[in-house]
């Protein structure tokens, strides 16, 4: 498998360099998409299927669409101004990267965290240690990550990107959408439920759901209009709202922020994850479709 890993690493590097150096925006985006694929593979090789799943959902699928949208908005690339700096930057960056790789490699992590997680797993209400960490032990981090997403949504909303007016793709898209959308809903549900015991969870589920929704949108099957956008926005915000309410509610019940009531942990976690799934999906969709049209002064 050494050959596999080496080829993978070479491919990742090649993609990264292409993504950075191509003068054509589409080329960069495409290279980036491939990079996502390869990185997901590498996570698999690193025995981190949870991360691989997340990378697959966000990195490979949706970011490509979002980047393409951004690329279209930006227009052609202007000649680079800081080209003379590229060489020293590359040198320093590779020096730093190499050094860090070496340092990381030489670090021998004491086994502190994993045993702690393992010891506390039974009390967490879920059997997937990743989910236990993300939604119980360090749920506060997750809550804040959701807040990041919300803020991103707000900033995008502020910047007032134009509503996407897709070119009609014709009837050939309809069967695709009609098949993909239900499957993605099913898949999302599956991933969500599976999260408590196996790799999966709200992020992945949300991304998959968003993919299905986007297919509908692109096929022209999704409803449009201000009200829908508004609803989507509120849906996007609702995940954090639910999470926060759950946090405060749990504090009211147990006296500790995000301290779920005993034995009901799983219910709480899954409920929160469900809300998050919807909200992530709505957020990703909105980021792609855009908000109402707004003039920038």
């Amino acid at each position: 498998m050494i050959a596999f890993d080496l080829a993978l690493a070479a491919g990742i590097l090649l993609c990264a360099v292409s993504a950075l150096t191509r003068r054509d925006r589409t080329a960069s985006v495409a290279a980036f998409m491939v990079l996502g694929l390869l990185v997901a593979l590498s996570w698999v090789r690193l025995a981190a299927p949870d991360v691989a799943l997340a990378e697959a959902a966000i990195g490979a699928g949706l970011t490509g669409a979002l980047f393409l949208r951004a690329a279209r908005r930006l227009g052609p690339l202007r000649p680079a101004a800081g080209r003379t700096l590229a060489v020293p930057a590359a040198l320093v960056a590779s020096g730093l990267g190499g050094g860090l790789a070496w340092v990381f490699a030489s670090a021998s992590p004491p086994a502190i965290y994993a045993p702690l997680v393992a010891a506390s797993l039974p009390e967490s209400g879920v059997s997937n240690p990743v989910t236990a960490v993300l939604l119980n032990f360090r749920a506060w981090d997750t809550l804040l990550e959701i807040a990041v997403l919300v803020v991103a949504l707000l900033v995008a909303n502020l910047l007032g990107s134009r509503r996407l007016v897709p070119v009609s793709l014709g009837e050939m898209t309809l069967p695709f959408a009609r098949i993909v959308a239900p499957i993605s809903i099913l898949l999302a549900g599956h991933l969500l439920w599976q999260g408590s015991s196996a790799p999966g969870g709200a992020f992945q589920a949300g991304a998959v759901l968003a993919g299905g929704l986007l297919a509908l949108v692109l096929a022209g099957l999704a409803p449009t209009g201000t009200l829908v956008v508004r609803g989507a926005l509120i849906a996007g915000l609702s995940g954090l709202a639910v999470f926060l309410i759950a946090a405060l509610g749990s504090e009211a019940l147990t006296g500790s922020l995000l301290g779920y009531p005993n034995r009901a942990e799983k219910v709480w976690i899954v409920a929160i994850e469900a809300a998050l799934t919807l909200s992530i999906a709505a957020t990703l969709c909105l980021l792609f479709t855009g908000f109402e049209k707004r003039k920038t002064s």
């Binding site: 793709l169 014709g170 050939m172 069967p175």
Partner: protein, 97 residues
């Protein structure tokens, strides 16, 4: 290891991977975009289907067959749709149907 499903599965997989390799070479060698689209829609889909089938043979549990089947279905339909749309968008009289 030498049961029928495993041999069959490995064989199917090898064939599928072969299709994929051919597709890759073709993708590199074919002269224009429309030709290259064939790779995506045909060779690749076939390769993946064979690989999935082979994998299903190897594992054999229904729990894994369902996702593999869905994989094939989705890839096929994606390849077809994207190939069609791209082709239509680059042909001069396409665009508006």
């Amino acid at each position: 290891m030498t049961t029928l499903p495993s041999v069959l599965g490995t064989g199917l997989i090898a064939a599928g991977v072969g299709f994929l390799a051919v597709a890759a070479i073709g993708f590199w060698r074919l002269p224009d975009l429309l030709s290259r689209l064939h790779v995506l829609t045909k060779a690749d889909t076939a390769g993946l289907s064979l690989v999935a089938l082979g994998a299903a043979c190897l594992t054999g549990t229904p729990a894994s067959i369902l996702p593999l089947g869905l994989c094939v279905l989705l890839t096929a339909i994606s390849g077809a749709t994207v190939g069609h749309l791209v082709a239509r968008s680059v042909t001069p009289r396409g665009g508006r149907s």
